[in-house]
């Protein structure tokens, strides 16, 4: 299937949002997940399946202020 990940069309086998992010180096804590225009908790991401054509963004929370 294809999704729009970080603004780019990306081919992926079926997976949960969490598994996709982990496979793409954006798993775990410290990441804001936006899936289909809504923020998704890491816990929910572990069970929500990717849908064909859906948009997914991951924003790393880094230190400094």
């Amino acid at each position: 299937m294809k999704i729009i990940y970080q603004g780019k069309e990306t081919e992926t086998p079926p997976a949960t949002v969490g598994a996709f992010l982990a496979a793409n180096g954006a798993g775990g804590s410290g990441v804001v997940i936006e899936y289909k225009g809504e923020i998704l908790s890491a816990a929910d991401a572990a069970s929500v399946p990717l849908e064909d054509g859906a948009s997914l963004n991951a924003f790393k929370i880094v230190a400094g202020g």
Binding site: G30, V32, S41, F59, K60, I61, V62, A63, G64, G65
Partner: protein, 199 residues
């Protein structure tokens, strides 16, 4: 009249009636507060447990003679030099998951202006599931790359500022000019959310 003489009456009413929470009075928070006071915001809840240190003076809205003072008190003094007529709820407190909701109860927008990534995440987890509007920053350290610092709307209630890359834990110093760019993004996002302007 207030600090901003360029406001329409409509804008003035909106900005003066809003209550803004600022979590952290350091490089981001002290500058966001000063910018919002200049913009016309009058009501704030500011929370920070720390005292002013010499290392803060490269980027924070404090002065050398204020070293050793509590940040919330020093910031209140400095903000009132811009605009005396402010409603400031100052919280000399270390924000945590068990107190943050009470501290910022009733705030229209909460500005995440903390140092540690874990603290930023704690704040987001406290307010986003509850549908509260949050402006947060991540990735503002180091020199150069001004244009990498962006304002993004994420989901319905989060505005995220920064480059999401330059982490102080990776050796990038918190340099004032870049921190203040991020602070200006945060302040502009707050004002835009209040006024219904495009981010």
């Amino acid at each position: 009249m207030g600090a901003n003489t360029y406001l329409t009456e409509h804008e003035r009413k909106i900005l003066e009636s809003a209550k803004i929470g600022i979590a952290g009075a350091g490089g981001l928070g002290s500058n966001v507060a000063a910018l919002l006071v200049r913009a016309g915001v009058r009501r704030f809840v500011v929370a920070d447990f720390d005292t002013v240190a010499e290392s803060n003076l490269n980027r924070q809205f404090f002065f050398r003679r204020q070293i050793g003072e509590k940040k919330v008190a020093a910031l209140a003094h400095n903000l009132r030099l811009i605009e005396p007529d402010l409603e400031l709820d100052l919280r000399d407190i270390r924000l945590a998951a068990d107190n943050i909701a009470e501290v910022f109860d009733g705030c229209d927008v909460i500005v995440e202006a903390m140092d540690a990534a874990e603290s930023k995440e704690m704040l987001l987890n406290a307010f986003l599931p509850a549908g509260r509007r949050v402006v947060s920053a991540a990735g503002l350290a180091g020199w150069g790359r001004s244009n990498d610092i962006r304002t993004r709307k994420v989901g319905r209630n989060l505005v995220l500022v920064g480059d999401q890359t330059r982490d102080v834990r990776d050796g990038f110093a918190p340099v004032g000019v870049r921190v203040e760019i991020a602070a200006a993004h945060e302040a502009n996002a707050v004002a835009s959310l209040l006024l219904g302007e495009e981010l």
